[in-house]
């Protein structure tokens, strides 16, 4: 039985299925639709890619040998270590600040709410580079930083600002405070994304608000919070390069120190870029496993990374062929 295309009403297609269960069903093969346009688009894209690659590869002014030579040199590796350390510390403090600010934002206390709002407003609203330079130059207006007991003339701790605010301290302060503002919005979104019925169920079981947050709401919110936080972490890794401006010897600063002497600017920037790419790739893989861990209880069970890739690149084949 044949049906005209465009004439597919339900009754005929059921009839086809009903009749098809007999002898006619044997030897039938489903052929997927062909898309010639996709081939054309792919060829054009590959062509452009080839042009860009050859422009670099055939350029005789680029000293390719410099890349393996400096990839593991001391200034680069020291810079890489400093970049990773600054990234992890700033992001870690940023996450804690973010959780704190988000909980304040959602509290019943109007003063807490306003302070958290003000914090996010200020640090999200001013450029990070300005904040970094600001912290670094704090010594211009506060020459010493000291801890005193008010009203009594007792000084617990006092030091010159310039010895306390090193390039590292200024970078960490600026990046973490800035990150906390962004993280608080991410955490707040995660907390608000949890059904209020969960809180009510916990309250009905006699759980206090604090226990409810810790045991019921936050663990579920983490699932929502992780993907954008992974994004933030990767962003943070790249943003730490701003700290080179205030003379913190990070990866970019290391590369700059070398090319200021040998003038192989692009080569050294490629070395730095390669390291940034390697570390962001490792972070992405980590994020995948973290997401899978926190997906427990979700209807869709995650597989291994390899299976995901296999599936993504699996060619669509007709069933049974």
């Amino acid at each position: 039985m044949s049906t005209e295309p465009g004439q597919r009403d339900v009754s005929t297609s059921t009839a086809v299925v009903a009749e098809g269960t007999g002898a006619e069903a044997e030897g039938l093969v489903v052929v997927p639709a062909r898309y010639p346009g996709r081939w054309v688009a792919a060829l054009i894209a590959l062509g452009f890619l080839a042009i860009v690659i050859s422009a670099f590869a055939t350029n005789e002014k680029i000293d390719w040998g410099a890349i393996p030579k400096y990839m593991f040199s001391a200034p680069i590796l020291t810079g890489l270590w400093h970049t990773i350390m600054l990234t992890l510390l700033a992001q870690g403090i940023g996450i804690l600040l973010g959780i704190f600010a988000a909980v304040m934002r959602l509290s019943e206390n109007p003063v807490s709410r306003s302070i958290a709002w003000l914090y996010v407003w200020f640090f999200r609203g001013t450029p990070l580079l300005v904040q970094l330079i600001f912290w670094f130059n704090l010594g211009l207006v506060f020459s010493t930083i000291s801890l005193k007991i008010p009203l009594l003339d007792v000084t617990l701790f006092s030091t010159s600002t310039n010895s306390l605010i090193t390039p590292f301290a200024a970078a960490l302060l600026g990046l973490a405070l800035n990150e906390g503002a962004y993280m608080s919005e991410i955490v707040r979104g995660g907390l608000l994304g949890i059904d209020h019925g969960q809180t009510e169920a916990a309250y009905a079981l006699g759980m206090t608000p604090r226990l409810t947050l810790r045991r019921v709401v936050l663990p579920q919110a983490i699932r929502i919070i992780i993907p954008p936080t992974g994004n933030e972490l990767i962003n943070m890794l790249k943003t730490t390069s701003l700290a080179s401006v205030i003379a913190y010897d990070d990866l970019l600063h290391g590369a700059q120190a070398i090319y200021n002497q040998n003038l192989e600017t692009l080569e050294l920037l490629m070395v730095a870029s390669a390291w940034y790419l390697i570390v962001t790739s490792l972070l992405s893989i980590n994020q995948f496993y973290l997401e899978r861990h926190y997906a427990k209880g979700a209807a869709k069970q995650a597989q291994s990374l390899l299976e995901v890739w296999k599936r993504a690149f699996h060619w669509r084949r007709p069933v049974g062929v």
């Binding site: 059904d195 019925g197 969960q198 009510e200 169920a201 916990a202 309250y203 009905a204 079981l205 006699g206 759980m207 206090t208 608000p209 604090r210 226990l211 045991r215 019921v216 663990p219 579920q220 699932r223 427990k296 209880g297 979700a298 209807a299």
Partner: protein
């Protein structure tokens, strides 16, 4: 007769300009099963939520086991309690929700032991043993390590009942426990509730299941537009209602 478990006198509650409860009174004796029926928007769910202070009442008096859940009385003043004090009193009141509200990131067993361990400070071993007995009772002993998303709605609601029972409550509140279930799953949940009623648990059940009300309830209350219109024995109220509004409602649902 012993002291009533629930006493509500002229309870009022508004959401903005919307007066949801207009002076609701009701008493529930120990071991009694009371079903509250009424059209949607009649305030019956809100009233139930007021009983364990998930909603704050605007006026009137509401006590459970002789104590006001959200307030402390001193002379003629009522002092609102702080959240952790309210939590302590709520622990004696079990509640089952229309949408189950199991904790999705915990297994069935973890759902059952969470509050007994964290709130009642039971040992993990005692809580687990008790949870196993309760799961056995609701017929889900084999699902103890499943996550809520992996079991049916009827099974989830039975777990939710077991979770509430794990706190050894003096009173159980049911907020339309079968309304979110496919028809063929309703019966298994009602069966658990009937066995609970037969065991002498004090229960207040907001429901649309007239069959359950007739079979298991000691008393049925009909609410409409924020008022308790009439109450009586199931046969009387469902069979020969005195009030016009009750008759109209029943003619629509039966």
């Amino acid at each position: 007769m012993s002291e009533p478990v629930v006493v509500a006198r002229n309870v009022e509650k508004s959401f903005g300009p919307n007066r949801v409860l207009r002076g609701v009174s009701m008493t529930v004796a120990a071991g009694e099963v009371v079903c509250v029926i009424g059209p949607s928007g009649s305030g019956k769910s809100t009233f139930l939520r007021c009983i364990n202070h998930l909603e704050r009442i605007d006026a009137g008096y509401l006590s459970v086991g002789g104590e006001m859940v959200g307030y402390r009385r001193s002379g003629s003043r009522l002092y609102e309690l702080r959240p952790h004090e309210v939590a302590k009193r709520r622990a004696k009141i079990g509640m089952v929700f229309q949408r189950f509200n199991l904790f999705p990131h915990m297994t069935v067993m973890q759902n059952l032991v969470e509050a007994p361990v964290k709130v009642l400070k039971e040992s993990k071993r005692d809580a687990t043993a008790n949870a196993e007995a309760l799961l056995d009772r609701v017929g889900l002993a084999d699902k103890r390590d499943a996550y809520p998303a992996a079991i049916s709605g009827g099974q989830q609601q039975r777990v939710a009942i077991a979770r509430a029972l794990a706190m050894r409550p003096e009173l159980m509140l049911f907020d339309e426990p079968t309304s979110a279930l496919d028809p063929e799953l309703v019966r298994e949940v009602l069966a658990v509730m009937k066995s609970l009623a037969a065991d002498g648990m004090t229960m207040v059940v907001v429901t649309h299941e007239m069959g359950f009300a007739r079979e298991a309830a000691d008393r049925v209350c009909f609410m409409d537009e924020g008022c308790m219109i009439e109450e009586g024995a199931p046969d009387q109220l469902l069979g020969a209602p005195r009030h016009e509004r009750t008759r109209t409602f029943l003619s629509r649902v039966l």
